[in-house]
Point group: C2
Chain length 406, copies 2
């Protein structure tokens, strides 16, 4: 064969300049911290991982075997951009059953985790310098996804019961954002949820304005106290809902969905074609088979019990081991606690001390897109068993005392 | 629960204007045709589907069972953005074995099919009004993926042995494109390949200039005649390679890869984080297990034999049934034939007559980004067994005669 010895692939050639947006994209601080915390001696509350004890591994194995045996040739072939219709019908039926929302399966597209829904929304909605309105603090993955489309960010204070309403109205009118990105249930990072009254108020404010309200809901089914509250879509029928199987089945399958009004969905489908043709069809078939053959509600109930206990354990350990000056959120669900340290404390610097003591968390600064704040930390309780939670929080208490901030 | 009756989700609210790029994205003409050809009576040469007879369905089932049994909790968890390291090592080793290219696994990222590689490249490289240089005709999926980043398109004539060199040099110097997108092996739609001499010339031309040479190679292993030729990277060490498991394992698993020099890879990894965190990890584990337990070369040899026979069958049927004025390409591999009809014929209008006669193809006009051409058609031979190829081409001959163009 006429092969020449390959040259070294170091960049010896001339360089293509990168797109301007490449300078605005940032790596996830969390994923960088996770690299440090690979050491199993470190108790990490940094990730946002579900507890693998909740994964229905053998059920997924049964579903995969069944799909490949009964319809393997189709399950491994290219498929439609929108996604497997019975899976979309399942999601639509569940919106009706659990949320009293009428959604047509044609308004649902299967995505590679709900993260891809954020990218697709940025792609079809955002021109450079358009404004995206965030909660403050906000989900880091949304900041990352939207940043690629070079928007301006504005933010509204997230109070214990949801966005500060007067401020929200002001932001909507002053900045005229294209998108308001909300996480009404057990938000990442804060764990906070919108009250029923604020859901109605926020939905109504957005319904009256030319803003796309995005309602990201990866944790909605992980409620440990209280009752389910309405979606914002009850009040703002054009809202876009994002959902995910990552927390109720398993994240490695990378399946989520976007539910958008038909006119917007048409454009999203076109964008998705160009992005990756369609989501992993084999996994769609496997997840649907799993959902058909097993009782999802019973499975979620087990997850709730486990995470609820872990939540309680972390809250109790914080009371026991952390100085009273550290204020912790008290979430009704989800996977995270949000801690505020006294003003002036640099939580990013505290992280270094904590890692020496073999405990890790995410400094809150990563969750502020348009302001500086280094006095918060996010703690994940879903991915650690109770004994590690107790020990990890004890170590965190020592680190805080050693750091001398309280 | 305090639910209100859900409002109808028709767009009753105020509307958010779409991003400018949304007006430039176009739906795949192919996917739209595929909807029409769902009727099993229609013999469709329109898709670009592998033959499901080649899918290693029971091997994939074995691999899935093994992965879930031995390491289920990890296989269903979140994972790294770059992708499963042993799978990246397998790809790197294969580049060395088959192409004599030294590639480090760190220069490889696992994507949702090679289509996602195109989107990521557009994202990190293209600002609005940058130029992308295409082959003429060009792969439609690349036009779609890049269009979202609002570039200008230029194109260079694809001759029987690769790009017209003088024209390529002129285009590179006049347009100073950020990207030259090439498919050197058995291109979609034309089936054409670059000769050894043109590979060297094209690689050298690009190596001397600040252009990112993209070498998309989904069909490289599907060669039915002749011997493997060098990659362009042999001559242009900064080239970006795209690869895919869709044609050598199965497309429903949506796994491909991008191989880029480290400095560019860093930015691509950051972009991928924002887009979807990582590719389907379960499928990565299953495909790796499958590749480890089975002989990929032996499997590819079977695909080659099948598609080679189907190719020969279609070429022979064209000689038998189509008027001599219709000129067909004679590809050494891949999945497509490219037909040129006499000047003045509207192949798009011919399609309507063909569908009445229950045979479908893709009009070539979809593959021209910066010029008008309605005298070509693309025929897929991988997804039809020989008897359907014979009958379909016979019907196509009748349609052409009825249309009265030859």
């Amino acid at each position: 064969m006429p092969f020449m010895p390959s040259m070294n692939t170091a960049d010896t050639g001339a360089l293509t300049p990168l797109a301007r947006r490449s300078g605005r994209m940032r790596r996830s601080a969390i994923r960088e911290i996770l690299k440090v915390t690979g050491n199993p001696e470190i108790i990490s509350f940094a990730g946002g991982l579900p507890n693998p004890r909740t994964f229905p591994t053998s059920d997924v194995a049964d579903a995969a075997a069944k799909v490949l045996r009964d319809d393997g040739a189709a399950a491994l072939q290219y498929s439609t951009t929108e996604g497997y219709l019975p899976l979309r019908e399942f999601i639509a039926a569940r919106y009706w059953e659990k949320r009293h929302l009428r959604v047509d399966p044609d308004e649902i597209l299967i995505t590679n985790g709900s993260q891809q829904g954020l990218d697709l929304l940025g792609k079809v909605l955002l021109d450079a310098d358009d404004t995206v309105l965030l909660e403050r603090p906000a989900y880091l993955g949304a900041i990352q996804a939207f940043s690629a489309y070079e928007p301006k960010f504005a933010s509204v204070t997230l109070e214990d019961d949801g966005p500060a309403l007067a401020e929200l109205r002001e932001c909507l009118d002053a900045h005229r954002p294209k998108v308001f990105y909300s996480v009404p249930n057990f938000q990442n990072p804060s764990g906070l949820s919108y009250s029923a009254a604020k859901r109605e108020a926020v939905g109504n404010l957005c319904a009256e304005r030319p803003v796309t309200l995005v309602e990201d809901d990866p944790y909605g089914e992980l409620r440990y106290r209280g009752t389910t509250l309405p979606t914002l879509r009850q009040y703002c029928p054009t809202s876009v809902l994002l959902g995910s199987f990552s927390k109720i089945v398993a994240p490695g399958l990378r399946l989520g969905w976007i539910c958008a009004p038909r006119r917007l969905m048409d454009v999203i489908v076109t964008a998705k074609q160009g992005v990756d043709l369609h989501s992993n069809y084999f996994s769609q078939r496997v997840v649907y088979q799993h959902l058909k053959d097993h009782d999802l509600d019973a499975h979620i109930e087990k997850i709730r019990e486990l995470y609820g206990r872990q939540r309680d354990c972390m809250v109790a350990a914080i009371r026991r081991h952390l100085p009273a000056e550290v204020k912790a959120s008290d979430p009704d669900g989800g996977m995270f606690l949000w801690l505020k340290l006294p003003a002036g404390v640099s939580v990013s610097r505290l992280l270094k001390v904590a890692i020496e003591r073999k405990v890790a968390f995410v400094p809150g600064s990563a969750f502020f897109a348009d302001s500086e704040d280094d006095s918060h930390m996010r703690l994940n309780f879903s991915n650690s068993d109770e004994s590690r939670i107790e020990e990890g929080i004890r170590r965190l208490g020592e680190a805080i005392r050693e750091f001398g901030c309280c």
